[in-house]
Symmetry: D2
Subunit: 339 residues, 4 copies
C-alpha cells in the first residue's frame, strides 16, 4: 500500500484531543491531510471541518471510513466509543491510530485483538505517545544498549497541578498510571505480572473522595520492581520523571532544566503546567511517525497487544487499589501476530 500522495485521514471525535489532532495533521504533519472529521454532534463536526479544504464532516465513523478519500483513521472519540470504531476500521482493513485507552476494559480489548488476528495482519497503533518523547526514547536506547547492565528497578513520578472535578481513584489508575504501565512494559520489554497500590494519608488539596497521592508498585515477569508516585494535585506543575536502576548504573529523565535563572534569592526554572507543554513534541512525532509508516505500508508503534495488556494491568491496579493488596495480572497467551 505504499503511496506517493498525501495520506488522507479521517479523524473520529472532535473534542479536545480530536480537534488538536485535526490541527496537527493540517498544520504540522508532513505528507497527510484531514479529509474527514466525525462527531456525533453534527455542528461540532462541521466546525472542525470548516477551515480545511476538501474536508467533509460526518456523524457516523462508518460513513467516513467508506469514503473514497479516506486512507486511514485517527480515533480520538471517548473511550467507550473506541471498540465500535476499531472494529469498523478493521472491517475495512484501514490503518488506525487510536488514542489511549484502546478500549475501557480488558474484555473489549480482547475482542479487538481477536478481530485484528482474524484480519491476519496488524493495522492498529495505540496512542501511547510517551514512546515518542525524546527523553523516554533516549532512556530506552540506553537501556537497550546494555551499557548499564540489566534493569532492576524503575522509579517513576507522575504529577499534575490539579485533577478535574469528578476525578476518581479508579481514574487515577486508568487515566494516569496507565502511562507508567505502558512505559514500564515498553522500556523493559517485559509484562507486568502483579500490581499493588498504597495510599498515604491524602493531601488536603485533593477532592474529598479522592485519595491523592498514591503509590503503585509493579512486579514484572522479568523480576523488575517498578514504583510510581502518582500525585494529581501536587499544585506546582506537570512533571513526569523516571529513573531506571540497572546493575551498573542508573539513568534519570524528566528534570526539564532548559532555562536556568537566578532571581530573587533563588536559582532554578519553571515547571510545565500541563501535558501539552511537556509532551507536545511527542504528540507531533507520534502522528508523523504513524503517517510515515502508513505511507510505507507498515505498522509500527504500540499495538493492540499493548492496548490489551494495559487494560488488563489497569483492571488489576483498580482491584489492588480497592482491596488494598497485591493483585496478580491475568493475560491471555500472546498471539503470534504480536510477537
Amino acid at each position: 500500500m505504499t503511496q506517493r500522495g498525501a495520506l488522507q485521514v479521517a479523524v473520529i471525535g472532535t473534542g479536545r484531543m480530536g480537534a488538536d489532532h485535526v490541527r496537527r495533521i493540517h498544520e504540522v504533519t508532513s505528507g497527510a491531510r484531514v479529509t474527514a472529521v466525525v462527531d456525533v454532534d453534527p455542528e461540532r463536526a462541521k466546525s472542525a471541518a470548516a477551515g480545511i479544504d476538501g474536508c467533509t464532516a460526518y456523524t457516523e465513523p462508518a460513513a467516513a471510513m467508506a469514503a473514497d478519500d479516506v486512507d486511514a483513521v485517527l480515533i480520538a472519540s471517548p473511550g467507550p466509543a473506541h471498540e465500535a470504531a476499531l472494529l469498523a476500521a478493521l472491517d475495512q482493513d484501514l490503518p488506525v491510530l487510536c488514542e489511549k485507552p484502546l478500549t475501557p476494559d480488558a474484555a473489549s480489548a480482547l475482542r479487538v485483538l481477536e478481530a485484528e488476528q482474524k484480519l491476519g495482519h496488524r493495522r492498529v497503533q495505540v496512542g501511547f505517545m510517551r514512546r515518542y518523547d525524546t527523553e523516554y526514547m533516549k532512556l530506552k536506547a540506553l537501556l537497550d544498549s546494555g551499557q548499564l547492565g540489566r534493569p532492576l528497578m524503575l522509579h517513576n513520578r507522575h504529577r499534575n497541578v490539579a485533577s478535574p472535578p469528578g476525578f476518581t481513584d479508579a481514574m487515577l489508575i486508568n487515566d494516569s498510571v496507565v502511562h507508567e504501565m505502558d512505559v514500564t512494559r515498553w522500556l523493559l520489554g517485559q509484562e507486568i505480572a502483579a500490581v499493588n497500590v498504597l495510599r498515604p494519608r491524602p493531601s488536603d488539596h485533593a477532592a474529598e473522595d479522592l485519595a491523592d497521592p498514591q503509590f503503585a508498585v509493579f512486579e514484572t515477569d522479568g523480576g523488575v520492581l517498578a514504583d510510581v508516585e502518582i500525585f494529581v494535585n501536587c499544585g506546582f506543575g506537570y512533571q513526569v520523571q523516571a529513573e531506571a536502576v540497572c546493575e551498573r548504573g542508573t539513568a534519570r529523565i524528566g528534570d526539564g532544566h532548559a532555562l536556568v535563572t537566578n532571581a530573587a534569592a533563588r536559582w532554578g526554572g519553571t515547571i510545565a503546567q500541563d501535558f501539552v507543554e511537556r509532551f507536545e513534541d511527542a504528540y507531533d512525532r507520534q502522528v508523523q511517525s504513524w503517517v510515515d509508516a502508513t505511507r510505507r505500508g507498515e505498522v509500527t508503534g504500540p499495538d493492540v497487544w499493548d492496548g490489551y495488556a494495559a487494560a488488563a494491568v489497569c483492571e488489576a491496579g483498580v482491584r489492588a487499589q480497592s482491596e488494598g493488596r497485591r493483585t496478580e495480572v491475568e493475560l491471555v497467551r500472546r498471539p503470534a501476530l504480536y510477537r
Copy 2:
C-alpha cells in the same frame, strides 16, 4: 498571496545544507513540497531530484525561478553565489529563505538591501536558525517580559569538537561567531557598535595556523557588553550556551541536561557532537515557520537588514582580530522598510 495548496519550493544548492533542506521539506515540513532543485553540477541536481515526485532538476537558479511550479526559493548554495540568486529572486518578486550568510561581505549585502528596498516590500528571510531554537526563544521571551529588568551583559560559549581542515581565523568570525552576533542583536534588539577579539595562547589541538580558542567582546549601542568564547577544537562536544545578566537576575540556556546517568563513579550525561543534534529542531521549525508565513503572504524572521548588519559586524570582527584592537562597526542608516 495567501494560498491554499502546498508551497512549491525551489532549493538552490544541493550540498550538505541544501540536500538536508530538500529532505526536510519533503519529509518533515507541512504544507510545502520541493518542485525544483538547482545545482551547478547537473548530476548532483538530478540525484537530489530523483526520489521526489514532480521535482525538476536545474543548473541555473533563474531557470528554476521562472518555472510555473515554483512559488518560493530556498538558497543553500555557497555564500559567494547568494547575491546573484537573491537579486534574481527579488527580480521575480519571489519569497526567499537564504542560508546564512546573506552574502560574504557588507558591500554585497548592501546591494541586496537596496534591491529589496527598490522592490518596495520585504521578500527575504535569512537563515539565522538559532532564533527558532526553543531555548533561545524562551530566553528571548524572558528578556522581553522585563521580569529580570534591563540586560547588562551576555556571556556566550560556542564550542565545536574539531574544526575542518583549512579553517582560518577569519572563518572563526564569519562562520562561527556570526551566530552570536545575530543572537546578541536579536535577543537585545540592539545593534553591535564595536568589536574586540582577544586570543589566549592557542590549544595544541588546533591546526598550526589557527589561533583557537578566541574571545570576542561586543559593545552594543544600548551599552550591553557581550562576550563570546569561541573554541572550535574543544574536543568534547558541540556546545552552545548563553547567560544574560540583567538588573534583577540572570538566565542561562544550553546546559542540555535531558538524560542524567550515574555510572562508573560519575554522574552526568552526553554532550551533542554536532549542530545537527543540537539544532535539528530549530532547522525544522525555521523552515516550517517560513513556509507558514509565506503561505499567509507574510514575511517574518530575520531579514536582509539582519543579514547586512551581521556582515558589517563580521568585517569589524575580522579587522579587530587581525589588528589586535577594539574596532567600531560601521552601518548605513537603517531604511524605513526594516524598522
Copy 3:
C-alpha cells in the same frame, strides 16, 4: 556540669570508627581531647594512644570510666559490646556518644532505656550522624518551616559501591536501611508503624546469598509513606538521596553536583566512593555538637528512644524481609523522659 576546660573523652573501641573518632577529637574538634582509649586488644589500645599527650590506654571500659581525667565517653566498639558499656557509663552518670546501633536488638535497647530512666535524666546520644549533614539539616528545616505543607511521601535512595564479604540480607536492614529509618522518623517527627520489604530479581554483582537491591516501604503513624531503594552493590558510587513530597511541593537532596566538567563527550561530575567522602563533615559536626552540648551540661541529638525505636523497626524490617509481607512495628509506650 558546665565546664571551661577541654572535655576529656574516653574512646571505647579503636577499630576503623573508633580510630577515626580518636583522630577527629585530637585534630578537628574544638574544646575536647582524648584522655583514654579502650580496646580489648591491649596492643591496639596502646597504638591508638601513642601519638596523643596525656592519653592512657585501657582494656576495660569501666577502668577508663573510673579515671579522674575522663569526663565523657564515646562508644565505638562492636554493637554487641554496647549494652555493657552504656550501662557502665550510666552507672557513672557520664555523658555518652554511642555509635549506632545503640544495641543490636530492641530487648537490649529497652534495658538501656530503662537504666537511663532510672537515672532520671538523659545522658546518651546515639550516633545517627545524618542528622548533622548540612543537606539533611536544610531539608529538615524546610519541612519544619511548613512552606511546602504537610509531608505525604518520602523517597530515599541508598547506594554503595559494593558490599563487604559476608554481608547478609539482615545486615542490609540493620546496618544500611537503619539510617533511612532514623532519618524518616527525624525528618517527619513520626514513628514508623509498619514495614514491608520487596525484592526485585537480584543484581548479578551481588554475592550469591544476598538479594541486592531491595526496596523497603515504611508507613508512619502520621500516614506518610516512605520508600527506600537500598542497593549495596551498585558499582558506581556511594549515593544517598531523599525527596520529600509535600502538599505544596517537593524537596530533594543528595545530587552532590559541586564540580561540573565537560570532557570526552560527557558533562557531569564524580560520585563519592564511600561514606567518609559523603558524610565526613557530618561526623565532624556530630562530635563537635556533642562536645559543645556536653560542656554546656546539656544533652542534645538523637537519644536512647531513637536508638530503641530504630532497633524495633529493624526487627520488623528483618521479619518483613524474611516472611515477605508487611509487618507492624511494636513499640513500648514512650517514656516521659523522651517526650
Copy 4:
C-alpha cells in the same frame, strides 16, 4: 617550633572579621586559643575578650605580641593598619595570618616582602580564603592533575546582593575582584601580566557614582585569558562561579545546588545571600590549616609574594578602569624565598 600545647593567638582588630575570628578560634578551631585581643578602642577590646578564659585585651599590637602567652598573630584590623602590625610581628619572628589585603598598595606590600626576606624565612600567610573552599580545591586538583590538558581560559562570576554605601569603582577592584586575581594566579600557577576593565551601561540599582557591573579581563604570563564579571548589586544573591576551559575539557564550580525544590510552578533552590553562607567552611578550614601548620613549625598557604602580587595587579586594574584601556602589571623579580 613544633609544639604540643594549644597555639596561643593574638587577634588584632575586633571589628566584624576580627570578632568572627575570635569566635572561630574559641569555638571551632582545634588546637588553638585566643589569649589576646587588640583594638584601638579599649572597650571593644575588653568586650571581645570578655567571654574567654585567659584572654587579655590590648590596645597596642606590639604589647600583645610581646606577651608571654602569645605564640602567633591573626591580623584583622583595617587594611591601612596591616603594614605596621606585620612589621612588628616579623620583628618578633611571630607566625602571622593576615586578612586580605596584605597592605593597601604595592609599595607597602614590597616593604613587608623585604622585611620578611631580611628575616630570612617565611612567617606570614595572607587570608585569601578561597584557596580553602572545597570547590576551588577540587577545581585546582583537577587542573593540576592534567586530565583536562592545559588551561586556556578562565571565566569567573562574582555577584553580591548589594554594595554598601560609599562603595567606589576602585573598591570594586581592590575589595572584590582581588579575590579573582588571587584565584587566577593560584589555580593557574601563573602571574597576571595585564589587566583591562570594561563597563557596560550601569544597572539602575547601583549607586549613582558606581559603575556596576564591570567586566575585567586578565592576561597571564602563561597566555591564559581570564575574565571576571563583577556585579555587586545583582539583587538576587551572593554567587561565586568559575569555569576553566582547558585543551580537552572544561570544569565549572559554584552552582551550589544542594537542595532542589519543586514548588509554585518552579524547580530550583535558594542562593546564598552573603559570603558567610558561601565561604564559612573555607574560613574555618583556613584558620585550622594555619593553626595546624604553625604548630608543626611550618608556613603554608598564600604568602607575602601573593599579597604583593595581588596589590600590584589591583593597582593595574584600577588604572585600567580609570583610563579605559589595557594596562600592564609591573612586578619586581620574585625573590628566592618565594619560589
